[in-house]
């Protein structure tokens, strides 16, 4: 008899709720792969987001955290409000020029490895606020990994952005933060 709910029966169905693991050698009771793949797997499924919500994008993020969309399914149920503990800075909403040093300081207080997600038109480019008082995108002060378009983006878009971040984290080499390219990027933002 066919199972009424198809889940996680690899090879027997098209539905795959659990993604395949990384490449490696598998046998009875053991699995061998390289360290950075294991670290990437662990990191990407346990992101602690730091929400920096200043306007309506923050409301959409709250919906994303709620039970209906439930960001916890992606390992991000623990929203931290302390930059020391968090991995992912989510900047959501208009950043005024006066707020820019605050965003930068929060970013500096985060420990490596750290990722940044710019949610919505304002955080990405200033959005409709083409005016003297608004920062024209947070990438003018800190490096950004993923931009989520929309004004504001729907929770689905936020989840898509988080999954893009997860892809980045999972594939990141352990030595990337020591590379010259990364150091140059940091230096271009005046960050040591």
């Amino acid at each position: 008899m066919a199972r009424p709910v198809q889940y996680n029966i690899y090879g027997q169905t098209d539905v795959k709720l659990v993604k395949e693991g990384p490449e490696g050698y598998m046998g009875e009771g053991f699995f061998g792969t390289s360290l950075d793949k294991v670290v990437g797997l662990a990191r990407k499924n346990s992101i602690w987001p730091l929400p920096f919500a200043t306007s309506c994008c923050g409301i959409e993020f709250m919906a994303t955290m709620g039970s209906h969309y439930d960001l916890a399914r992606f390992g991000s149920e623990r929203v931290g409000f302390s930059p020391r503990q968090c991995d992912l800075l989510m900047v959501m909403g208009t950043i005024a020029k006066k707020m820019a040093p605050v965003v930068k300081q929060v970013y500096l207080q985060m420990a490596e490895p750290r990722w940044v997600l710019a949610m919505g038109a304002c955080a990405s480019s200033g959005g409709i606020f083409d005016t003297y008082s608004v920062l024209q995108g947070i990438d003018q002060i800190i490096p950004v990994d993923v931009y989520i378009p929309g004004c504001p983006p729907r929770p689905e878009a936020v989840i898509d952005g988080i999954m893009k971040i997860q892809d980045l984290i999972g594939k990141e080499s352990l030595r990337r933060r020591n590379s010259d390219k990364y150091k140059q990027l940091m230096e271009s933002y005046g960050i040591q």
């Binding site: 020029k97 006066k98 480019s125 200033g126 083409d130 005016t131 003297y132 008082s133 608004v134 024209q136």
Partner: protein, 139 residues
């Protein structure tokens, strides 16, 4: 609303009279701001005081005009403590120099800003941006 104007040298005397006089008692400054009239030569900046008499329940509007080259206006902070931040805001956006203000510095904009953004000669749009298409943004 009754609106009237006085020479800028007399602004404190007028405010003090409105404050003290029995039957007037305009002792609440509801608002204070400036207006820039670039075509009004010699009197480009208007400083506008909104006053409320709580006993009579009457509101009035009082304006003084000043030259933009010497935008010096006496500060009303000695009379109305509430004028402190409003005068700072007016300085921040229009560059009105309130003589006698205890702490006349920017309040809303970034400290590094080197112009007064609400003056008409400065464009509203952010000028540092290069990747926004002027046609799309209606500039």
């Amino acid at each position: 609303m009754l609106t009237f104007e006085a020479p800028k040298e007399l602004n404190l005397k007028v405010l003090q009279f409105l404050y003290d006089e029995d039957g007037l008692a305009f002792r609440f400054m509801t608002d204070l701001q400036a207006v820039h009239y670039p075509d009004n030569k010699g009197r480009e900046l208007a400083v506008v005081y909104h006053l409320h008499s709580l006993t009579e329940n009457v509101r009035i509007r009082f304006k003084v005009f000043t030259d933009i080259q010497t935008p010096d206006v006496f500060s009303a902070t000695a009379l109305f403590s509430g004028a402190n931040w409003m005068e700072r805001e007016t300085y921040d956006f229009y560059g009105v120099n309130f003589v006698g203000h205890p702490n006349l510095k920017r309040i809303l904009n970034v400290d590094e800003m080197d112009y007064f953004p609400m003056r008409k000669e400065f464009p509203l749009e952010e000028q540092t941006r290069v990747d926004k298409d002027d046609d799309m943004f209606g500039r």
